[in-house]
Structure formats: structure tokens, C-alpha cells
Symmetry: C2
Subunit: 181 residues, 2 copies
């Protein structure tokens, strides 16, 4: 992605925080992380986030999804003595459809991103509205998609080590470079 | 405290969540924890809270303070192999004055609760407004007081084991019984 596209996505994210009444500092706004996973379409497969804190014991983030963005399927594997990241999603605003391993739900509400069908393999659906939350065990495949207005989701977790995440889609690079305009 | 007083404090807490745009489920509202520490005056020394999640790896809570409530000085000691709870406070609404070990601040903004003066001993002041946050290391004495409108503070932390907290005030019991009316 180009620097100008990253800036535009940061502005849109900031507007969603403002609409939801979630206060960020100017420095946090400036550093909103835009995750496009090295794929070519942020609107299709992507995620925006602010990491509040990430220590060797716990982590907290605020995730933003534009409609109908999808965070691609991945898992958090064991790393050394860490059994893998465990995370709790709490929907704050909008709606999010979360898919995890388990009994597949018939007629899921999300639409699998076109062209990425082979890389979505778990279909046990959890629908989260504001106040709803769900805890994903370590090393469990999951993916999630925003509802029609987008979503803001608080993530509470053990230590985050994004660089070890394993995505089902082999085309994905978690931390790609920004291209200068 | 009597059951009716606990219910009234829960209602007031729910109103503050609503005012701040923080959505809770009916079950969370029903179970808001009112912490009066076995002291006789919730308005003076007390805290209201909802625990979103508390696993063996991490914990997340939403803390509410009525003005001019104070959470009394305490620390989170090591428990077994756990070096003690580490916690990050992030102010979401209102204002909170936090005091930790370190260089004492002259003319602190909080007023020490009357009758409890001997039990407040650390005075390094951190003032948190919405978007402001601070991480308290394990086993570090701290206390905090709401600003003039009260406060809502997200707490992200390692595992919470409130029953092991060590309060400076020997009169305090962390988990006292509710008296039926």
C-alpha cells in the first residue's frame, strides 16, 4: 500500500473511534496500524488497530473494521514456552461475525472474500454485537468479518507476537512495507 | 453494606456506563461488583467494576468511580510463581488521579479520605484524562481517586487474584459480605 492510502485509512479509522466515543491521543491516531496483509485490497481483507499495551504478560488492542472487511484466517501457534496467544474479543460498536474451529454453521452470515475461498476453512459462527464477547483458545484457527456498518472490537489477550501468526493463505505477509508515494 | 445500597450503587454505575457509551449486557449490569472494602462509606472509599475476562494469563476490567471516590492504597504481591499482578490503567471518561511509589508530588490534587490519613503513604501523582494510560509494575503500592465528575477506567492486566491484595489500611477486607435488608 502507498503512504497516501495508509493515511486515508488512518483518517477513516479515527472517524470511527470518534463516532463510537472512544478517545485516542493524537499520537495514537498518528500511529494507527493498517494491516493489509500484503494482499492488494484493504477493503476486502484488512484490519485497523491501536495497541494500547503489549507486555511480556498481557496485551490490549482496539480493532477497527470497515464494512465489509475481513481479517483472514489464522492461528497463534506456541512460541517457546508460550502455548500461543489466547485472546478475548469484546464488541464495542457495530457487529462482527467471528468464525472458529468447531461444528460448521449452516448458511454463515459472512461472505468469503472473492478469490480467497480456499483459505477460509473454519465456519463455526459467533455473532458479536456491542457487549458480546468470545475467548479464542491458543493455536485455534479463526477469522472474522465486519457487519454492514463496520465494527470496533476490544481485544484482551496474552502477549502479542504478530510476526509468528500462521495464516491459512500462503500469499499473506503479516507486516508488509509501506510504499512511499 | 446492605443489599439495597448495593443495588443503588449498581444502578448509578450502569448510568455512568450509559453516559460514556460503554455497552454492558443485562447480566453484566446485574452483576456489577461494588467494592466497599469493609469500610463504612462507599462514597469515600470504594470502587465499582465489571470483570470482562480473568484467565490464568490475562484479565480485563472496566472500573467506575463516583466523585470523589478513592480506591485505597494497596499492592499486588507475588503469589507462587506469579511475580504479582501488573496492570495498565486507561482512562476512558472523566478523570482519575493515580498515586504510585516514587518522588512525591508537591500539592497533590486528590484529597486523602478523612480518617484514613495514616494509610496513604505514596504520593507520586499521575493525572489521567480520556486516552491517558499508565502501567503499574507488580508489587508496587498505589491508590487512585476520581476527579470531580467521576471516572471510567479500563484495566488491562495479568491474572487478577483480588483476595491476595495487600492494603495499607489494616481495617480493610477486600471481599466483605452483603447484609440482606
Amino acid at each position: 500500500m502507498k503512504r497516501s492510502e495508509v493515511r486515508a485509512a488512518q483518517r477513516r479509522t479515527a472517524e470511527m473511534f470518534a463516532k463510537a466515543g472512544i478517545v485516542m491521543t493524537p499520537e495514537e491516531i498518528e500511529n494507527i496500524e493498517i494491516a493489509w496483509f500484503g494482499l492488494d485490497n484493504l477493503e476486502r481483507e484488512g484490519l485497523e488497530l491501536v495497541t494500547y499495551v503489549n507486555t511480556d504478560r498481557y496485551c490490549a488492542k482496539e480493532l477497527v473494521m470497515f464494512p465489509p472487511q475481513t481479517c483472514p484466517e489464522h492461528r497463534h501457534p506456541p512460541v517457546g514456552t508460550d502455548p500461543g496467544k489466547m485472546e478475548t474479543f469484546r464488541c464495542r460498536w457495530g457487529k462482527v461475525y467471528l468464525y472458529v474451529e468447531g461444528e460448521p454453521t449452516e448458511n454463515i452470515k459472512a461472505r468469503i472474500p472473492e478469490g480467497s475461498e480456499p483459505y477460509y476453512t473454519v465456519f463455526h459462527e459467533i455473532e458479536l454485537s456491542p457487549g458480546g464477547q468470545y475467548t479464542i483458545p491458543p493455536n485455534t484457527k479463526h477469522w472474522f468479518q465486519a457487519g454492514p456498518e463496520g465494527a470496533i472490537v476490544s481485544e484482551f489477550s496474552s502477549t502479542s507476537r504478530d510476526e509468528f501468526d500462521i495464516f491459512t493463505d500462503p500469499r499473506i505477509r503479516r507486516i508488509p512495507q509501506i510504499e512511499e508515494d
